[in-house]
């Protein structure tokens, strides 16, 4: 006779406890996201109450007269990120295409390792390299000739500087490249193989297959990768702080010094005294995290839909 024994009570309890313990641990990440926003909001209140919406459009940043406007930093953050994306996108998608291509396993292995290492190098190492190696080179070989040759073009004219909006954009482009490449690879791999095979069977060349079949099929995912990289670029702190020149004004030229939200916090927060000044800096952080959460959620949903939709 077969009799199914009920599990002993002790073990049932343990399963419940197991679920409870692991479930409690799973609470931490969502709580941290909410906590980050809540804590920064709490500490930004003196600044929010004092400046209101003017904070976001004011162009003055004066700790002496306690007049704070965030526009130069918002401009610097958005401009560096946009230029970085424009530079890194073609390169990142190319790397993604090579990594997602069937065959050539050895080459893909090397390229994949390279992308991982590029992502793993600490930001501050990019910073010191950009400051001492890249910035002087870019200054003499690119910024000076271009600003001289295009002295009538609005955003390129003016006297160039070694530490500038453009230098920061360039190092940002390098740092977001792994994000762009890795996610492009994932979404390109998720394109059903049948599509590629059908195109090749119809006699399409490699480029026709890639440009007219593969890339359109992965469009939403690549857009998601771009937005995700944008999110990373907006929040990058250390390397940008080291090469952007730290000048709190909206620059006339992309070769002039500028400032970003993250770098002004990095530079000034430890020395900010009183109540309004640190609160203003925390409000910059609040703006940064709210934008970052919004951009990240949007991008993740886009990428997830493409990658999971193909399965």
């Amino acid at each position: 006779m077969i009799r199914v024994l009920p599990a002993p009570r002790r073990l049932q309890m343990t399963f419940e406890r197991f679920r409870l313990i692991t479930g409690a641990a799973s609470l931490v990440a969502p709580l941290l996201v909410v906590g980050l926003v809540a804590v920064l909001y709490r500490d930004a209140v003196p600044s929010i109450e004092r400046f209101g919406a003017h904070f976001l459009v004011g162009t003055n940043w004066n700790p002496v007269t306690l007049d704070f406007g965030a526009l130069p930093f918002i401009y610097g953050t958005v401009a560096t990120s946009a230029i970085a994306i424009a530079i890194a996108l073609p390169v990142g998608v190319s790397v993604g295409l090579v990594l997602a291509e069937p065959g050539a396993r050895g080459l893909r292995g090397v390229a994949g390792t390279g992308v991982e290492l590029l992502a793993a190098i600490p930001r501050v190492v990019y910073g010191i390299w950009a400051l001492y190696v890249m910035a002087p080179f870019v200054f003499t070989r690119f910024e000076v000739p271009v600003s001289r040759g295009m002295s009538s073009v609005p955003l390129l004219s003016g006297s160039p500087s070694q530490t500038s909006l453009f230098t920061a954009s360039l190092v940002l482009a390098i740092m977001i490249l792994p994000t762009l490449s890795a996610i492009s690879r994932d979404v390109l791999r998720a394109v059903p193989g049948g599509l590629r095979e059908s195109a090749v069977a119809l006699g399409a060349t490699w480029w026709e297959t890639t440009w007219k079949v593969i890339l359109p099929a992965a469009r939403a995912g690549i857009f998601g990768a771009t937005v995700l990289a944008l999110g990373r670029a907006l929040g990058e702190t250390i390397a940008v702080t080291m090469v952007i020149g730290n000048r709190p004004e909206i620059p006339v030229s992309i070769f002039s010094p500028a400032y970003t939200l993250a770098s002004v916090i990095a530079n000034e927060f430890a020395e900010a005294t009183g109540s309004v000044y640190p609160a203003a800096l925390v409000e910059l952080g609040l703006v940064l995290i709210l934008v970052s959460v919004a951009v990240n959620v949007a991008a993740l949903l886009l990428v997830r839909r493409t990658v999971e939709g193909s399965r």
Partner: protein, 285 residues
């Protein structure tokens, strides 16, 4: 008409293809440049034994080192790991075991945390663990780093447990093992290489982070093992010393950068070896 069209198609695909591969090659130029310059400029400082044994000295006095930063990094990353790894593993196990709406929320939150600006995490740790005590501390730095590490550990654990073949779970349950033991002793155990890889990668990430430490660990010119005091860290040395006008300090910054890069390379190599073992092990199951 026809031959010229074919010629156009063939040449355009050749040009486009070489462009794509060329751009891919361009992507690795910065990697090679960063690595080679760091080795070149960092070796003079990092090849002295003093560099590892002594602490900061006034500019001009030889024999300065970064021992205080090495200790600070070890202590802060160590404490951060003690917080983030157990929490991350438990949460990751929950997500692999109980898929559903809540798990999707946790996953999204973790991915958002990975992308959150690290400077904002520094402000958060400052508000909770520095401001109430009125002084900077290594502990606050460790907590900031653990916030960065947690989502990495959590996501890799979830992934590693998720790829263990379901047959293992069914075998365990068929033998009458309670479900929590199947999870912890069979599934998690089979996933250990993946979990270890995740923990290692998160340690590498935390060891290289600067921004969250600026107003938490803050930096300390002296050797300190006490996490309730301000502590230095290797990335802080690179950041602060690189921006000074003194060549000797700049050299020290490059040395610390080299040390960071070496740590990163070693952790990556080890984690690759571990992950290969996992792949082989899972293939056997």
């Amino acid at each position: 008409m026809r031959p010229s069209r074919n010629l156009w198609r063939r040449s355009s695909t050749a040009i486009a293809r070489s462009l794509v591969y060329g751009l891919t090659a361009v992507a690795f130029v910065p990697l090679l440049l960063v690595l080679s310059y760091t080795v070149l400029k960092g070796l003079p400082a990092a090849s002295h034994l003093d560099f590892y044994l002594h602490v900061e000295r006034p500019v001009g006095i030889p024999g300065a080192g970064v021992a205080h930063a090495i200790v600070g990094s070890l202590v802060m990353v160590g404490i951060a790991s003690l917080i983030a790894v157990p929490l991350g593993v438990l949460a990751g196990v929950y997500m692999a075991e109980f898929p559903g709406g809540w798990t999707r929320t946790v996953r999204l939150a973790a991915d958002v945390l990975v992308g959150a600006p690290s400077i904002a995490i520094g402000l958060f740790a400052f508000a909770l663990f520095v401001a109430p005590f009125h002084h900077f501390s290594g502990l606050a730095g460790a907590i900031a780093l653990s916030v960065l590490m947690l989502p990495v550990v959590l996501r890799t654990t979830e992934g590693a447990v998720g790829i263990v073949p379901g047959g293992l779970r069914e075998s365990g349950l068929a033998l009458g093992l309670p479900r929590w033991r199947v999870t912890m002793q069979l599934m998690l155990r089979a996933a250990i290489p993946g979990v270890v890889t995740g923990a290692l990668l998160s340690v590498a990430r935390a060891a290289g982070e600067t921004a969250p430490l600026l107003f938490t660990g803050f930096g300390n010119r002296f050797l300190s093992f006490n996490p309730t005091e301000p502590m230095s860290a290797l990335p802080l040395i690179v950041y602060h010393d690189a921006l000074t006008p003194y060549p000797s300090l700049q050299q020290q910054a490059w040395g610390a950068a080299l040390l960071l890069v070496v740590i990163m390379l070693v952790i990556n190599l080890v984690s690759r070896a571990v992950i290969r073992r996992q792949a082989r092990y899972v293939a056997q199951l």
